[in-house]
């Protein structure tokens, strides 16, 4: 099996997600992109796990999913909070923290 292709796939997916995080203005879409980045890393872990014939990669995926779940919970809670207090979900409006 051509594992390099899978690694490249994972890298491409990661970059796509990264572009979403860096470029999109909608907070929800930014968070979606963030999840997709994590997912791209998961694909890399599983491919490598098969490539190396060790389970460590898959164990790490469990960890990543855990952190991703926690991250999603916090992030969405933040979005809810932001929406309630400022009435928006636009990244641009978050510049108030500037000096």
């Amino acid at each position: 099996m051509n594992y390099q292709l899978l690694f490249v796939l994972s890298f491409v997916l990661f970059v796509v997600g990264m572009i979403g995080v860096a470029m999109r203005r909608n907070v929800i879409i930014v968070l979606v992109s963030l999840e997709l980045m994590l997912n791209a890393v998961n694909i890399l872990f599983v491919s490598a796990s098969k490539y190396l014939h060790t389970l460590d990669g898959q164990v790490f995926v469990i960890m990543v999913i855990t952190i991703a779940a926690a991250e999603a919970a916090i992030a969405l809670a933040l979005v809810v909070r932001l929406f309630r207090t400022m009435g928006m979900v636009k990244i641009d409006d978050l510049k108030r923290l500037k000096w």
Binding site: M18, V21, A22, M23, I91, D92, L94, K95, R96, L97, K98, W99
Partner: protein, 645 residues
């Protein structure tokens, strides 16, 4: 021999200081007084115990030590916190703790009404700690700690009534003048340490130094001796650094008695006696000590003649008597100097405390022109004052006579005729000024205003009992050192026990072989001078009821004004040192250095930061996606570097 209780002599007052200093406000008067007095009494009792131990030892092995811990260990040099008790230390320790204890007791009554009762006693205990450390330390560095400690306490206690401007200023004056002296002391200490180290002697213990100091060249020793003596002139109020002591009378009277009469100011004398091994090798330095001492004795006595403040007369008298002590150690008669130190501690502490009792009776009046005729009104105070006055005047049979006479005899016998002459004249002046004080205070008519006169009362027992004990000491204290001449007359052999006791500490001074006749005439001469002074004063002030001040002011106005203004020394220092220093500080240090260099650096760095941040701020857009992008660029740059390398 190791004797580990020595440390408790020093520690006990420190514990008292900590208790009163930390918890004084909550303890209440009774407990504060109890703690302060008990700790000093404990020191005294341990001192007495150590004294008995010392006496039981062979004469030439009388040395007790107590190493507490190693304080400084730098390379080959180690300095221990180590206490030492030899005959010299034990005399000092007993005088300090004994007289100190009596003054503590007296303070119970004298300071009873004061708001800062606990503060007063904690400072007093701190002073006892420092002073005992000074006299018991076994090396010169530890001694310097005590030396500075007593200076600090002196400052704190002179400025005890800090709300009074004059007291606060007097405290500062004392501290700064002492610093000048201490500067000399430190230089001497450094020179001593470095020159000893260059000879391979890495110890500053007195005993170790005594054995090796002969390695140094006489010139170096002379410089060290003079520098150390500069420190002594500051601490012991000698010319030219005596100016702080008269002003120090702003402090509470028991403080004047304890610190500025009996103990601290004698530290300089003690130091020179302690360093005797160095001074005997530096005769020039010793000569300086003797001459400065003699000049100070005469100089201060003349000022004391015209002062009207009862405490100031005593202050100048103290300076004068300290001059005697330096005269004694300066002519090589170390034990005579220490003997006078001890008797002086008794009678001068008594004089101050009795003066305090007078002030107590007169609601704080210090001006002798507003006293008079107190003899019958406060008889106990009068009686003890008389005893002390006779003692200081050198009337035969009282302590001051023996000690003063042995100094004068030593001065004459060692060939210091000029020094002896100055001391001889001072003996007359001493009788004169002290009985001028007696006359103005206790004899003649009362010049007390009615309001104050109404309140005159004898001091309470807690004050008079220490006075009586000190009076007894002033009278009999001299009999431990009766000159051999007198001892022979009364068939009392080995009468000068004091000299014998101290003999192991001090170098063998070549015996002053004076014909008995000369010695007798010397003694008769000084007795005559003392009696003459006393009766002249009594005659002028009591019998004739003259106002010699007025007639003197008319006859020799220049001299009188010179004396009244204390030779204009304060004014001289003001013009020569303080004014230029102030001008320099104002024009250069403040207007230029502080404003431009110090403030300029601070403000400049603030300005540069502000300028830079105003520009750097622009990067901070607050847009987190820009940050993410920059961060990713960074990550990929690093990756690219590792991949493409």
């Amino acid at each position: 021999m190791e004797l580990n209780v020595l440390r408790y002599i020093v520690l006990s007052p420190l514990i008292g200081f900590l208790i009163n200093g930390i918890g004084g406000k909550r303890l209440g008067h009774r407990a504060v007084g109890l703690v302060a007095n008990a700790t000093v009494l404990i020191s005294f009792l341990i001192g007495v115990y150590a004294f008995t131990v010392l006496l039981s030892m062979p004469v030439n092995e009388r040395l007790l030590t107590d190493t507490v811990y190693t304080w400084i260990s730098a390379g080959a040099l180690t300095i221990d916190v180590k206490l030492m008790m030899d005959p010299l230390s034990v005399v000092m320790a007993l005088v300090v703790s004994g007289v100190g204890f009596l003054i503590h007791v007296y303070s119970l009554g004298y300071m009873h009404e004061d708001r800062g009762y606990a503060r007063y006693f904690s400072f007093l205990n701190l002073f006892m700690f420092s002073m005992l450390l000074l006299v018991l330390s076994s090396n010169i560095v530890l001694m310097f700690v005590g030396w500075e400690g007593v200076g600090l306490c002196s400052y704190l206690l002179i400025g005890f009534w800090y709300e009074k401007d004059s007291a606060a200023n007097a405290g500062k004056k004392a501290f700064i003048t002492n610093r000048i002296g201490d500067y000399g002391f430190l230089l001497g200490l450094f020179l001593l340490a470095s020159s000893l180290a260059s000879k391979g002697v890495l110890s500053l213990d007195f005993t170790a130094m005594a054995g090796h100091v002969a390695l140094l060249s006489p010139a170096v020793l002379t410089v060290i001796g003079v520098l150390l003596f500069v420190g002594a002139t500051g601490k012991s109020a000698q010319l030219p650094l005596y100016v702080w002591l008269p002003d120090a009378m702003e402090g509470p009277t028991p403080v004047s008695a304890l610190i500025h009469a009996a103990t601290m100011v004698t530290a300089g004398v003690y130091m020179i006696a302690r360093m005797n091994f160095l001074y005997v090798l530096a005769p020039t330095a010793l000569e300086v000590v003797a001459v400065v001492g003699a000049l100070t004795a005469l100089y201060a006595a003349t000022i004391g003649l015209v002062q009207n403040d009862i405490k100031r007369v005593l202050a100048y008298s103290t300076i004068s008597q300290l001059g005697y002590m330096f005269m004694g150690v300066g002519v090589g008669a170390f034990s005579a100097g220490i003997f006078h130190l001890m008797t002086h501690a008794f009678f001068k502490a008594l004089l101050f405390l009795a003066a305090g009792s007078v002030m107590h009776a007169l609601s704080g009046e210090q001006d002798m022109r507003k006293m008079g005729g107190l003899r019958t009104k406060i008889p106990v105070t009068y009686a003890v004052f008389l005893a002390a006055a006779l003692a200081i005047a050198g009337i035969p049979g009282l302590s001051g006579f023996f000690s003063k006479d042995s100094i004068l005899a030593a001065a004459y016998g060692s060939g210091h005729t000029v020094v002896w002459l100055l001391g001889f004249i001072t003996a007359l002046l001493t009788g004169l000024y002290i009985f001028r004080l007696m006359s103005m205070t206790f004899y003649g008519e009362s010049r007390i205003d009615e309001h104050t006169a109404h309140h005159i009362h004898e001091s309470p027992k807690v004050m008079t009992v220490p006075l009586i004990i000190l009076a007894a000491l002033s009278i009999i204290g001299g009999y431990v050192g009766v000159p051999r001449l007198l001892g022979n007359i009364f068939g009392w052999h080995d009468s000068d026990m004091f000299v014998h006791f101290l003999a192991p500490v001090f170098p063998v001074v070549p015996a002053h072989k004076m014909p008995v006749a000369v010695e007798t005439w010397l003694m008769i001469g000084s007795i005559a001078m003392a009696v003459l002074g006393v009766f002249a004063a009594l005659y002028v002030y009591v019998t004739k009821r003259m106002q010699p001040a007025k007639s003197a002011a008319q006859a020799v106005p220049g001299l009188y004004r010179l004396l009244l203004n204390k030779y204009y020394v304060d004014e001289l220092y003001n013009a020569v040192i303080i004014r230029p220093l102030m001008a320099l500080s104002r024009s250069f240090l403040w207007k230029f250095f502080d404003v431009w260099i110090v403030d300029g650096t601070v403000n400049g760095s603030a300005y540069v930061t502000e300028w830079a941040s105003a520009r750097l701020r622009k990067i901070q857009t607050g847009d987190f996606q820009v940050y993410v992008t920059i961060f990713l660029i960074g990550v990929f740059s690093v990756l690219a570097y590792f991949v493409l390398r």
